[in-house]
């Protein structure tokens, strides 16, 4: 198969804290990788190292075979990597439509470079995530679930090849979660490879082709969802070790 993302021995230290410790994994094109682990395991840090929000201490990240771990964040965006933020970062003073238009104006090479075309593009992505009825409102007028949708639309408008989703379902109700799962599957069907961080187990199980489990910055398991979730080490990390 065709590998889109390869992470080798990736390490990130914040002063004394080992946030990510020699993590290695690969993601095949058009696949969904679920990234799970307890709070503080280093999931968001790992995504930030791939998206360029943070620079690694050691190790390498290869995107379509080329090393990218020394590139600035915006260059990785132009190559085709998009991410969402767990703590949403809309452009508060802009309309919802223009928030997404920024993604179309910039983002991966080949996106719309003219404002009119970018807004047209943005409209389509807002429709795609079910937010078109709020296009003309300011982004800071949106509530939690709609902000999650906006994060997703902004990332999609960049026309990425690799999409990194950091807890886009947190705080949503079961119906909304179903909607987002449908959207993510539709995104994958367009040929986009995806890394999903999620705490909603049912969602991650139904979405992921493979799962990767982080604990204290280390990879403790990787494989098919059903196998990984039976793994004793994983159960121990999530529920505490079994009593003897």
């Amino acid at each position: 198969m065709d590998t889109i993302l390869e992470v080798r021995n990736l390490t990130k230290r914040f002063h004394g804290l080992q946030a990510i410790d020699r993590v290695t994994f690969t993601l095949e094109r058009n696949q969904i990788l679920g990234l799970i682990g307890p709070n503080g395991a280093g999931k968001t840090t790992l995504v930030s190292l791939v998206s360029g929000t943070l620079q690694p201490t050691e190790g390498s990240v290869l995107f379509e075979g080329k090393p990218i771990h020394r590139l600035a964040g915006f260059r990785r965006a132009l190559l085709g990597i998009a991410r969402t933020f767990q703590v949403m970062r809309p452009f508060p003073g802009l309309t919802v439509l223009d928030n997404v238009a920024v993604g179309a104006l910039f983002g991966a090479a080949g996106s719309a470079r003219q404002l009119a075309a970018a807004r047209e593009n943005a409209n389509r992505w807002l429709h795609f995530v079910g937010l078109d009825h709020r296009a003309r409102q300011r982004a800071d007028a949106l509530g939690g679930p709609d902000r999650k949708r906006l994060e997703l639309a902004k990332a999609l408008a960049m026309r990425p090849k690799l999409l990194l989703l950091d807890e886009v379902m947190a705080g949503l109700n079961p119906v909304e979660i179903e909607e987002v799962i449908t959207v993510i599957k539709k995104v994958r069907d367009q040929g986009i490879s995806i890394v999903v961080i999620e705490h909603v187990m049912k969602a991650i199980q139904s979405l992921s082709d493979r799962l990767l489990v982080l604990h204290h910055g280390e990879k403790i398991a990787e494989g098919k969802p059903e196998e990984v979730l039976r793994n004793d080490q994983v159960i121990a990390a999530y529920l505490g070790s079994k009593r003897r």
Partner: protein, 316 residues
Amino acid sequence: MKPALKFASAALVVGVFATVPLWGSAVLVQFGINALILATLAQSWNIIGGYTGYPSFGNSVFYGLGGYGVAIAMVQYHLSFALGLILGATLAVLFAFLIGLPVLRLRGHYFAIATLGLAEVMTAIVSNLEIAGRNIGLILPLAKGDALFFELSLALVVVTTLTVAWISRSRFGFGLIAIRENEEAAAVMGVNTTLYKVLAFALCSVFSAVAGGIHAYWITYLDPGSAFDVALNVQMIIMAVFGGPGTIFGPILGAFALSAISEILASKITSLASIFFGVVIVVAIVFMPRGFADLIQNFRRLGWRYFQENLKAHRV
């Protein structure tokens, strides 16, 4: 309003303005030149402060460099005024790149404080330069008539405003706005934040420098203290914020409104003028914190409630 209608009415206003030197009194024309130069400064501050969200206190340095470019070219090398403007603008752009690269890494208050020091540093440097006349300054050749300076200043405001209008609808401008709204998110979406910020700084330096050059030739005298005056920088910020930062016409409206108010106050009640001027600004900030442009946009819809809403929103 339709864009075409907006453009036509703006062109009409500029056309009427252009005739002022034909019928206006000398006082009116001189007031006009000052107001137009301040409008240019407020408008160019708008690029870095209003659109990009970096409240620069270093724009008076660009203004001063523009003045010195003209003065040095004309006095020391007997070059033309136009070449002097080019020299001044070049100096300002070089300075913007040189200082912008390190200083634009700072955000918010830190950026403001770092740029605040620049004017003092430049005053000290220029005061010791033989070519710039040290702390005595330079006396420029006498120019002919106020009408020319009025038209030049008007043309400069128009060019600056057209540039801002372009920014507000271009990819470049959306990059700047994205930086203002959330710099980290902008970078992740593919905006080359360092490059965009420095370009914005350089762009606003050009217009400020040309304004400084025109002013220096008009006044025919230049010294370090008045060229790099931080108070002027404060003035352009107040005008831009009063009018509405991050809007196309706000800073222009702000510059004219505040110039007129301070002129009227100064002629009617000379000694207390600055106190009343301060009161006007405080009242404006309390009742219309997003500026004049925002007031015009929302007053028709909300009426007097607009002021109430602002009071409530800011818990005054």
